[in-house]
């Protein structure tokens, strides 16, 4: 694009058209005082400090003046100085003057402005009126809001609106009393504020300031350990301690933006409850953990190796089950499955994708031929219509949620949401489809029915790139809107409107979550989404596609690395002799031919005595798996259980040996995020004394079992992965230093594949799948009349082992609440905050009620983060037959107030 030439203070500058005089000046190193300007936000022009003189135009704010060819700008003159001085003085007069006790001292824009403009202290003292006395809001555990330090630049208000899309803040009152406030001037924690801290990082003064700020002495670039978004982090380190977190502005995923967990949720790394010595089960105890004694690494590893070897020798390798961590690195998952296959000699290896996104792999593979996200997340801003099915990104993938809000507000993206709950994004949706849990397939077929009936399908795409269309078209004949309305509970008109909106868009993109996969027909639900994309030609182009929002930071990677019982790394076939031969030669072993157990099936085999031992890395099925009474029973029945963990979780408490592991901040490696980008995880601090990385633990265990792992560092492991996995053959650490690479990345010249299926599908054509609705495994009835569906809270993550060891997050969300619709609550005589008992056919729990119309009538909602409220004591273990993923999202329950618990 042509540059615009202008002169600022007699310096010739070439600027990009569309930028402002202020941007151009700052970019050229010419400081113009400013407070309300922020490069991430639209200009506001409220502080009046950036006044400049533009020839022929007089004085004007630089932040509101776009650059023009031949413009002549002066940034200093007596007149400008006077204007700025008055503006600065008025701000300082209202501002508490004690810089020395301010958290932002020396990092304050107002100080910089004052220094530049020159402030006459005597004149200020004369002009100063009474000081405002407004209370400081320090309700938020992570930052304070001190209105007396505020310069009313509005950056926080605009950040909350433009960046976070939360709109918790605005200017309230007027004149001298104007202040930034939440609704009702409530404390921040009582407001809509989601504590992402984006306003805090942008506040130019001390009005919004992080508590406990410590200047880091160095920063380490890495990847967030929470959800599958894969945000770039800069960990601020002092000595051997993480003291702060910044969003990585160079990350294409988050562009510097973070959510509350990423920014403030890293404290668990420093938590005193971190395990730091191997533990061996001993009824006599002797450690700070009852039932365990401390042991040396030598003893613990020796015991683990001997026990695993003994069980293998006595019962065969198939008597041992391994579960890899979806939170660990790729290198660890690769090494772990190699340990299970080459050292133990079994394909009984799995990871926690089994209980979340395995149906994405089966469903997407069945249609497209490969089981991962089709398009980059950047396409959220490129699409016309975004269709969210069974996901609440503002809670579970907050930075994606923010991107969606920005895309709606800034790019005019239209949103359709199918979700039984009126989530934050459902409120911006048109239409919102409040689908009855367990009826996704009917809804998706119904949408296809309308699209076909109205001729909105893409015939050219269907003819050129797909197969199986006729039987699919015939199948969806039976899903007329009236029938689908009766099944799903969604008005027929809304089904038609959604179908038209999705199909008529030039570019439409589907994002879906566990609300699609965690059903007894989860794989079919995924196919239903993919069918819709094929039907409308929304595949292989910018702003289209079907993207699963993967739950954990590296659940994509754990699958890609072959921590799965039915495929080798890179989804290579176990049955293929050539493939097996390649691995056998490289690993110097004989590989088992039979597919291993999916771990959700394995619990049954424990009860039958066929599985006698398990090795679990960084996973807590005793809390996160459905029907956890049975899981607990199975874990307790094992002859031997060894667990690598950071904390003594519920699962670790059932182990015979617990090995203290290093956290994400204490090791090298890579994670793969929801859109297949392989990103580098870097060591920021040393692990606590006594902890080892999972790579070291697994290698040393293998040593003791008589197998020397040749690759024993993360970089060497990545080289081995590249050699063994064609999809990732081009991925090497030196390349990842530059930027992430999305697989497939076939050689060292390949820049990776952000978008899949541009020209063809892995099998040539994609296949429509004719699928049918089936009622969920458990329908509500007279005894259990409500549907329980489960999910995540913004402030917590999975089993809570990390977030609940971050004190501030627990302050924000201290306990679980049952969400119940006012209508149901009234019928059951349940009131807000009251203790209720929730019972299913499998168990019962006690929890306080939150009466809210976020839930549809007949549906109640719980998260599964809290050990005290073990939601999975209620959920059932009915599995999707293809992926063996349990139906977390539909359980029949009854709710009743607890007599006597609510007195006082």
């Amino acid at each position: 694009m042509d540059q615009v030439n202008l002169s600022i203070d007699a310096v010739e500058i070439a600027a990009t058209p569309g930028t402002t005089v202020l941007d151009a000046a700052l970019g050229a190193g010419i400081y113009i005082p400013h407070l309300c300007h922020h490069p991430d936000l639209k200009p506001a022009g409220v502080c009046r400090l950036c006044m400049v003189e533009i020839a022929g135009r007089g004085t004007t704010p630089a932040c509101l003046s776009p650059v023009e060819e031949g413009m002549v700008v002066r940034t200093e003159s007596p007149e400008i100085r006077d204007l700025r001085r008055v503006a600065a003085e008025l701000l300082i007069l209202d501002h508490r003057p004690d810089c020395l006790v301010c958290a932002k001292n020396n990092r304050c824009e107002l100080q910089r402005v004052a220094a530049h403009v020159g402030i006459d202290a005597a004149r200020l003292a004369r002009l100063r009126r009474h000081e405002k006395t407004l209370p400081v809001d320090d309700s938020n555990p992570f930052f304070t809001h001190d209105p007396q330090q505020c310069v009313l630049c509005g950056i926080c208000v605009r950040t909350c609106n433009e960046i976070a899309g939360v709109n918790a803040l605005d200017f309230a009152f007027r004149g001298f009393d104007t202040m930034v406030a939440t609704f009702g001037n409530d404390p921040l924690v009582k407001s809509r504020c989601e504590s992402c801290g984006e306003c805090v990082v942008r506040c130019p003064v001390g009005a919004l300031a992080a508590k406990d700020f410590q200047q880091p002495s160095r920063e380490v670039k890495t990847i967030c350990p929470y959800c599958g978004t894969g945000c770039g982090l800069l960990l601020g380190v002092r000595g051997n301690r993480i003291v702060g977190v910044r969003g990585d502005p160079d990350s294409s995923v988050n562009r510097g933006i973070l959510c509350v967990k990423g920014r403030f949720g890293i404290d668990f790394v420093n938590h005193p409850d971190r395990l730091s010595t191997p533990l061996i089960r001993d009824p006599a105890g002797g450690s700070r953990f009852p039932g365990f004694r401390e042991a040396s690494w030598d003893e613990a590893l020796g015991l683990a190796a001997r026990s695993l070897a003994a069980i293998r020798n006595q019962y065969g390798p198939a008597a041992i089950m391994g579960i890899s961590s979806s939170r660990g690195t790729n290198e660890e998952s690769y090494l772990f499955q190699k340990f299970m296959r080459a050292v133990v000699g079994t394909n009984n290896v799995d990871n926690c994708a089994r209980v979340c996104h395995s149906p994405s792999v089966t469903g997407l593979s069945a249609v497209f031929g490969s089981g991962a996200a089709t398009n980059p997340l950047d396409d959220i801003e490129e699409t016309e219509v975004l269709f969210l099915v069974g996901c609440s990104p503002t809670e579970a993938h907050p930075v994606i949620g923010m991107r969606i809000q920005r895309a709606i507000a800034g790019n005019g993206v239209r949103l359709i949401v199918a979700d039984p709950r009126k989530t934050r994004l459902a409120q911006s949706a048109d239409p919102w489809l409040p689908v009855r849990p367990g009826t996704n397939v009917a809804l998706l077929n119904g949408l296809a029915h309308v699209i076909l009936r109205e001729g909105l399908h893409d015939e050219r795409f269907i003819a050129a790139r797909t197969e199986g269309f006729e039987s699919f078209a015939e199948k969806v004949q039976a899903y007329a809107p009236d029938r689908v309305a009766a099944i799903t509970g969604i008005p027929a008109g809304d089904i038609e409107a959604a179908a038209r909106r999705y199909a008529q868009a030039d570019r439409a993109m589907i994002l879906y979550g566990l609300g699609v996969t965690e059903h007894s027909d989860g794989s079919l639900g995924v196919m239903g989404c993919a069918n819709l994309a094929l039907l409308t030609g929304n595949v292989g182009r910018k702003g289209t596609g079907v993207n699963p929002l993967r739950g954990q930071n590296n659940v994509q990677g754990a699958c890609d690395m072959g921590a799965l019982p039915n495929v080798l790394p890179g989804y290579q076939s176990l049955e293929d002799e050539a493939v097996r031969g390649k691995f056998e030669a490289a690993w110097n072993c004989k590989l088992p031919v039979h597919k291993g157990l999916k771990y959700t099936e394995a619990w049954h085999f424990v009860r039958r005595g066929r599985v006698r031992a398990a090795y679990i890395v960084g996973h807590n099925p005793a809390l996160t798996d459905p029907y956890l009474q049975r899981v607990e029973e199975a874990l307790a029945a094992l002859d031997f259980l060894v667990v690598n963990e950071l904390f003594l979780t519920k699962t670790a408490r059932l182990a015979h040996v617990v090995l203290p592991a290093a956290s994400f901040a204490e090791k090298e490696g890579t994670f793969i995020n929801a859109d297949r980008q392989v990103q580098r995880v870097r060591k920021a601090v040393d692990p606590p004394a006594g902890c080892k990385t999972d790579v070291d633990i697994i290698c040393e265990l293998a040593d003791r079992m008589g197998y020397a792992m040749p690759a024993r560092t993360a970089a060497d492991l990545m080289d081995e992965i590249a050699a063994m996995v064609p999809l990732m053959a081009g991925i090497r650490y030196p390349r990842l230093e530059e930027h992430p690479l999305a697989w497939p990345c076939l050689d060292e010249k390949d820049c990776g594949s952000r978008m899949l299926y541009e020209k063809s599908f892995p099998r040539g054509r994609a296949t429509f799948r004719a699928i049918d609705h089936a009622e969920p495994a458990e329908a509500p009835d007279a005894s259990y009349p409500l549907i329980l569906t489960t999910g995540r809270r913004l402030q917590h993550y999975n089993c809570g082992s990390m977030t609940r060891c971050t004190p501030g997050l627990s302050t924000l969300c201290p306990e679980e609440r049952l969400e119940i619709h006012p209508q149901d609550a009234a019928g059951l005589n349940v009131r807000e905050d009251e203790m209720v008992e929730v019972a299913s056919r499998r168990g019962k729990i006690r929890v306080r009620a939150r009466v809210t119309d976020r839930c549809s009538p007949g549906v109640v909602f719980l998260s599964f983060h809290f050990e005290e409220v073990p939601t999975n004591a209620l959920t059932g273990d009915r599995l999707d037959p293809m992926a063996c993923t349990p139906e977390y999202k539909v359980s029949a329950v009854r709710v009743a107030p607890v007599e006597g618990a609510n007195v006082g």
Binding site: N161, N167, A168, L169, D170, F171, A172, F173, R174, A181, T182, F183, G184, N185, S191, R192
Partner: protein, 152 residues
Amino acid sequence: MERRLDAILSSFAGQEHELIPILQQVQRELGYLPREAMLEVAQFAGVPESRVYAVATFYAQFRFTPIGRKHVMVCRGTSCHVRGAPRILEEIERQLSIKEGETTPDLSHSLETVACIGACGLSPCIMINNKVEAKLTPKKVAVLLRKAGDDD
């Protein structure tokens, strides 16, 4: 409250620019802007609740606490001021045991001051529920408030 609110909202289209007339009607109907009503209005007009609060707090006409059955407005215009408005206000505050801007706990009276009622010839004067009470003295105030109280 919900029904009265629904009746008001049903005459609007749910657009952001309707915010001020909606709030005015809600206050006319309910006497003030309860939190729940503002939240409802925010949802209806499709604006963030913080924005509704921002708009409502900007204008002096909106109130956030219930108003007493007798709405007492004390004129502090120049004429009233020189003829003793401060003493009148003081007496009312003493009689009602509330300060300017407050409402009695039994919701019988609210007390406000205004810049000028526009009845300078009758100063010092106050208004009680739109009725001007003229040429007051502290003694008359006591009688007046007792009488006003009896009207209940």
